[in-house]
């Protein structure tokens, strides 16, 4: 008798496990025509995305949209798995790092029909294009890089705050003076491409890749000079070494009053205001200092990147998803996004919505000057083979900083790595 009970229990357990797997592994079988899944990688923007979804659902009561947020690393693992098994979410964000990979492999729907390119910043539209030049996403936002400065340290050293006319020389002078009078760090130049040396390269009139993305330009004198300059900043007493940054990041040094200046993306600003409320009014932002004697151009540049909204090329709810995508790209959808404060809408003329958030929350930052920098912004460096060369270039930069290769050897190595990756692609 008891043997049979035991057997019965084990059979039951087995059945439950098998059944659990069937329903669990089967995926979204119950999705009806009216419900969409919207996947994003930034929990900080979930509320903003939900606000847009709410606005759409108010107009379309028969539709329900669920916003799901994950972490960055998990997002790409999940999305790639979903793409391979053809179960992508209905709507998702696409970063320019990954745009070519998904678009060129045919996983993204062509969005040329639902948007009018003229409404968006040129860079944001370019970032939504695949290698074939077609548009595979709806421009979501655009970003820029800012110079953050600590007013307390400037006051203590008696140095005037940065102005839009600042050059690299002013950046150095202020750093020397602040370091001399307060003993704190001046401009903290950490190893980074988008937030770091790329800006200096383009300000000097150099390039990382040529216009078509088919050739690396590291060894061009205008590029190499700027890279050399940026790496050389670390040799000054007023700049921490990369080893020091690995111990304590630039933003931690900045907000604890140990360093006077660093570069950060505009997407960080709202979160920084929230994280350090006691610092409100004691720091501010300015546009990046320009190159005083550029090899080409007027010395002004700032790297700008963007995110797009996308949907799968053959998704189950494609028609509905495309309609919601069009709404996300509309002025109304972009305005709601701007008001959420984290990102600057890609839609032309809506920069103010983002600027206004700071005043509304009484965050004392002069962010308006940053939106003016879009006049001379440069598109984020990208080409289809970027995923394979980017980690290598980053490692070579660190090797140069660590002194295991000389700057010139390193620049040559970066050039070769990128050319090799382009050839292999």
């Amino acid at each position: 008798m008891s043997r049979w009970i035991k057997k019965g229990i084990s059979v039951l357990c087995a059945m439950i496990m098998v059944a659990g797997c069937l329903t669990g592994c089967g995926g979204r079988s119950g999705a009806t025509g009216g419900s969409l899944i919207f996947l994003i990688w930034d929990p900080g923007q979930k509320a903003g995305m939900e606000a847009i979804a709410e606005a759409y659902m108010d107009q379309h009561p028969e539709v329900t949209i669920e916003v799901q947020a994950t972490g960055w690393d998990e997002y790409w693992t999940k999305l790639e798995g979903a793409a391979t098994s053809n179960t992508m979410p209905d709507i998702f964000w696409m970063h320019s790092n990954q745009m070519f990979k998904y678009a060129d492999n045919g996983y993204l729907a062509d969005c040329s029909e639902i948007i009018d390119e003229a409404n968006y910043s040129e860079i944001a539209v370019d970032n939504a294009k695949g290698s074939d030049g077609k548009i595979y996403g709806v421009p979501k936002d655009k970003d820029t890089i800012a110079l953050l400065y600590n007013k307390d340290l400037f006051d203590a050293a008696g140095v005037a705050y940065p102005t839009p006319d600042w050059t690299w020389d002013d950046l150095e002078d202020a750093s020397v003076q602040i370091n001399g009078k307060t003993g704190k760090y001046g401009y903290m130049a950490f190893s980074h491409d988008q937030i770091g040396y790329w800006n200096f390269v383009y300000q000097n009139g150099g390039q990382i890749l040529n216009e078509e993305g088919t050739e690396a330009k590291f060894t061009d004198p205008s590029t190499a000079d700027a890279i050399r300059y940026y790496i050389g900043i670390q040799d000054n007493a007023w700049c921490p070494t990369q080893a020091q940054f690995a111990n304590t990041g630039a933003s931690e040094l900045f907000f604890s009053g140990e360093g006077a200046m660093y570069y950060a993306g505009n997407w960080d600003l709202v979160n920084l205001c929230r994280t350090y409320p006691e610092m409100n009014g004691r720091w501010d932002v300015s546009v990046l200092p320009k190159c005083p004697n550029p090899a080409n151009g007027d010395g002004r540049a700032v790297i700008s990147n963007s995110v797009s909204y996308a949907t799968a090329a053959d998704g189950k709810n494609k028609e509905l998803a495309m309609d919601f995508l069009a709404f996300l790209g509309s002025e109304e959808g972009q305005r709601i996004q701007g008001e959420s404060g984290v990102a600057i809408p890609a839609y032309n003329g809506l920069e103010d919505t983002w600027v206004k958030t700071f005043a509304d929350n009484d965050y004392q930052l002069n962010v308006e000057c940053l939106t003016e920098a879009f006049d001379y912004s440069v598109k984020y460096v990208n080409n289809p083979s970027r995923p394979s060369w980017e980690p290598k270039v980053e490692q070579i930069m660190l090797d140069i900083y660590a002194g295991t290769v000389t700057v010139d050897e390193g620049i040559q190595k970066m050039q070769d790595s990128v050319m090799e990756a382009i050839a292999e692609y």
Partner: protein
Amino acid sequence: MKKKVRTDQDHFWGYLMVAPTIIGLLVLNVYPFLQTIYLSFTNAKVFGKYRFVGLSNYVKMITNEEFLRATWNTILFCILTVPLGVLLALVVAVLLNAKIKGKTAFRAIFFLPMVVAPAAVAMVWKWMFNAEYGIINTVFHTHIDWITDPNVVIVTVAIVAVWSAIGYDAVLLLSGIQNVSKSYYEAAGLDGCNKIQQFWYITLPMVSPTLFVVLIMRLMASLKVYDLLYMMVGEGNPALGKSQSLIYLFYRESFVSGNRGYASAIVIWTVLLIGIVTLLQFLGQKKWVNYEV
């Protein structure tokens, strides 16, 4: 005749009962393992598209300086953590078995690191090891670049790894020690053995099967070290290239650079390495592990 039917039926129920585990193992472990072996002979990158490329991933691997360094780093990490960690755990276990006040509290304290999330452990230690503002350099008046000097960083991570593992290993060893019959000690005491001799001639041989298990587990865990390195060293650290482990290299190749085929080759090598080390241990156990109770 009747008996045979009965046996078949017993087999059937037996298989049915282990089926959930076996199916789970096949689907979640065996199949992915075979798939990984296959992928290591392909140029797989993303979206499951690949072509057979023979041994070229392995050739690329053994001629790659980065890979050789990662292998050495992994072995060095084992040498640094396993003997010291297991020895300390044994000492702690013996002490926790002694008749002291607050024994339970001490046991709980030593086990605590096991309960804390590894990421939190790494973050706190990272702050303590901070070269400029960290408590360790401040207290000892040293200027060691604990987490950025390529020659030091493996030692730093090893210290944290040993600290994290002692409690768990000690509890396992403690349970082994408590299984030793008191009569042995009483007899030894009558024969005039002191405490050290009792440990050496009674405790150690009697606890050797547990010690063997702990040793195997610790070696495997050390050969697979990844999370502590990721949290404490991480991207952007100039020492990373010089101090990464095999699994970290695998992670970067597979999930950062998207070279799934090459990454598979690295992970297969890691499995082989663990296999070889474990085999050596099983061969060596005859010399020192005592299974007689």
